[in-house]
């Protein structure tokens, strides 16, 4: 199958290319980027053919495209890919940064009879999959609540647009809420009915005005309530980039899952800080495998545009609540 890459804006682009290259029947036909300089240097770096425009690349009729542009540009690139007749899209999260864009994307994907998979790699985490199995099989009994964290470092050092609200649509709350909300919708099979949030720029850097800290509390229709700390609170000297952890508390006790606990700790004299080096199964590879399999088998991917929309909805509700200090009822 022939896959094209649209934009190198996102930090995960290189990882996705590496994952695609492990799949024998996948051919990456080329990459385009509206930032020509970034496109040229990145294609040279990773050894891909650079296509001078999205139009030219899409005209080559790829079987699928991977969209890694800035958050607020997802809608435009998705619409262009669909207009060119691309049947399968893998889009970096979040699907959109507003409900208007998100709903429009879901509609246009349906109208084109195409498939859009949203990049939620945690669905392909082995510890998460096993945790879900334990919850679904009823080992914990009635789920009371979850205490969750998706911490990270401020990504602005790697890609500066993450802290430019016009391109990212928001800071830590936009960046991390969608991952945890998707994981919990998947695990609980329930939807959020109300949400409350506190957020702010509590890790200020000069020249950047965006939410760097946030904590959400939301309640699912099944009654379970969740606390989520989505802050970019890890210092640069922290051993890892961050974390993704859930403590499930229920009728029969506690189940804890830490998606990135499978690490060795290395102390390099030269580095001046320890590093946690992950040895668990590769979640990105699992996600890319599913995208390729859905194309190969001509079926819908296991994570859909609707899933992307529901995660976006929670992030949008969080900003609304943080601004008004009110509980926000969902769906919006």
């Amino acid at each position: 199958m022939r896959i094209a890459l649209l934009s190198f804006a996102h930090v995960h682009t290189e990882t996705y290319i590496a994952c695609l290259r492990t799949i024998p029947d996948v051919e990456i036909i080329g990459a385009a980027d509206d930032d020509a300089e970034r496109g040229r240097s990145m294609t040279a770096k990773v050894g891909l053919r650079y296509s001078p425009s999205y139009e030219a690349l899409l005209a080559e009729k790829p079987d699928g495209v991977v969209i890694c542009c800035e958050n607020t540009r997802h809608r435009e690139l998705i619409e262009r890919a669909l207009a060119a007749g691309v049947p399968y899209i893998l889009c970096e999260k979040p699907l959109a940064t507003t409900m208007e864009d998100g709903q429009a994307i879901v509609k246009v994907v349906e109208a084109a009879h195409a498939h859009l998979m949203i990049a939620f790699p945690l669905r392909f985490s082995a510890p998460m999959r096993d945790a879900r199995q334990m919850i679904v099989s009823g080992k914990l009994g009635k789920l009371y609540g979850c205490n969750t964290t998706n911490h990270g470092q401020n990504p602005t050092r790697i890609r500066s647009w993450f802290t430019d609200k016009r391109l990212s649509g928001g800071g830590a709350v936009m960046d991390h809420t969608v991952h945890m909300v998707d994981a919990l919708r998947w695990i609980t099979g329930s939807e959020i009915v109300e949400l409350y949030a506190e957020a702010g720029n509590l890790f200020p850097q000069s020249g950047i005005e965006i939410d760097t800290a946030g904590t959400l509390m939301f309640t699912f229709a099944n009654g379970a309530f969740v606390g989520l700390d989505c802050s970019w609170s890890r210092p640069t000297i922290y051993p890892t980039w961050g974390d993704f952890k859930i403590d499930f508390v229920g009728e029969r006790g506690l189940i804890t899952v830490d998606a990135f606990a499978q690490q060795i700790t290395t102390y390099r004299q030269s580095l001046g800080r320890p590093t946690g080096d992950f040895w668990g199964s590769d979640t990105d590879q699992g996600m890319i495998n599913e995208f390729a399999a859905s194309i190969r088998e001509g079926r819908a991917p296991s994570v859909t545009a609707y899933d992307g929309l529901k995660a976006t909805e929670a992030a949008v509700a969080a900003y609304l609540s943080a601004e008004t200090h009110q509980v926000v009822k969902m769906p919006l």
């Binding site: 509590l202 508390v249 009728e251 506690l254």
Partner: protein, 333 residues
């Protein structure tokens, strides 16, 4: 002159306090308990008498140590103050904000000293975090995450913890420690939002709660507490982030001594206490602090007003859990 201490209550905290007082040169004159079968062995162990009531012991003591259910704190404190006795009282200060105000006023008026046993400040791991934050080592606090989860108190008789009218449940009785600690780190709270299992389903077999705090400083706090774990599991966590760094600690990861034994039965404490091997346990440290401050006329490291501020957050959390709406502080009622 030897200080004579009256311990009111022979439950798990009465027993713990008695052990603490034995590390001072004060004299435990008596244990007050309505149930002497439980109080007598404790009294024998510490060389004290069993008294049937607070009234009966007041003439024989200088200090009253209240280890009784929370709703009794106010009246017993007022009675002790009227008899010009100093008061050492278990947390929380009272069941209502007015209880706390009455207690503070009564002790002030009588010229006796009131100390609420906010033990968390005497746990070395919490103190170490506080001292580093206070020294500015991680910059201004940005986010504070605290966990204190255990099992439902197991007493088969007179389990007043299970009566939320009396205890307030974990949102009050258990999580008061973490409200106090968070206030100690970050100052006044502006908004409180809380969810709990009990507020939704009073008949649930366990209880579990989370509280989201916004401080006037802008810092965000998240506090998790509950009585939903299987005994004897008791987990605590601290994470404080700041503009210049981060401090983290988890009881799971720092247990210095672990035994996995093939035992015929594991005796489980009625009420879980989070204890780590230390030369001096925090429950003894706090009593020695109280006693030293009392006899040397020094200030206490935690004032009743601070204890009352923690209660105010707890009551706001209870209200928020009940109403489903955030509560803005101060709300003095």
């Amino acid at each position: 002159m030897t200080f004579r201490v009256a311990i009111i209550g022979a439950g798990s905290m009465g027993t713990t306090h008695a052990a603490g007082w034995q590390h001072t040169d004060a004299e435990i004159v008596g244990i007050v308990a309505t149930d002497s079968t439980r109080a007598q062995p404790l009294a024998d162990r510490v060389g004290a008498k069993v008294y049937p009531s607070l009234d009966a012991i007041l003439p024989d003591c200088d200090v009253v140590d209240l280890c009784v259910p929370t709703p009794l704190h106010r009246d017993m404190t007022l009675k002790a103050a009227a008899a010009h006795k100093h008061v050492h009282c278990e947390k929380p200060i009272g069941r209502t904000y007015q209880d706390g105000l009455d207690m503070i006023a009564a002790c002030e008026q009588a010229g006796v000293r009131l100390f609420i046993s906010m033990t968390t400040r005497f746990f070395p791991e919490y103190k170490a975090v506080h001292d580093r934050v206070a020294a500015g080592e991680i910059g201004k606090p940005a986010t504070i995450r605290l966990t204190r989860c255990s099992y439902k108190p197991l007493m088969t008789t007179r389990n007043w913890f299970s009566d939320y009218v009396q205890s307030g449940g974990p949102l009050l009785d258990l999580m008061i420690h973490d409200y106090d600690f968070a206030l100690w780190l970050a100052g006044d709270v502006e908004r409180v939002y809380a969810r709990s299992v009990a507020s939704r389903d009073p008949n649930a077999t366990g209880d579990y709660a989370q509280v989201l705090l916004r401080f006037r400083s802008g810092a965000i706090g998240h506090i998790e507490g509950g009585w939903a774990y299987p005994p004897p599991l008791f987990r605590r966590k601290i994470e404080v982030t700041g503009e210049q760094g981060l401090i983290e600690w988890e009881s799971d990861g720092s247990a210095p001594l672990v035994a996995h034994l093939k035992a015929e039965s594991n005796a489980i404490a009625e009420v879980g206490l989070p204890l780590s091997p230390l030369d001096e346990d925090p429950y003894t440290a706090i009593i020695r602090h109280f006693y030293a401050a009392l006899i040397h006329d020094q200030p206490f490291s935690v004032t009743p007003e601070e204890s009352l501020a923690a209660l105010e957050v707890a009551l706001a959390a209870l209200e928020s859990a009940r109403s489903g709406q955030p509560v803005t502080l101060p709300r003095r009622s």
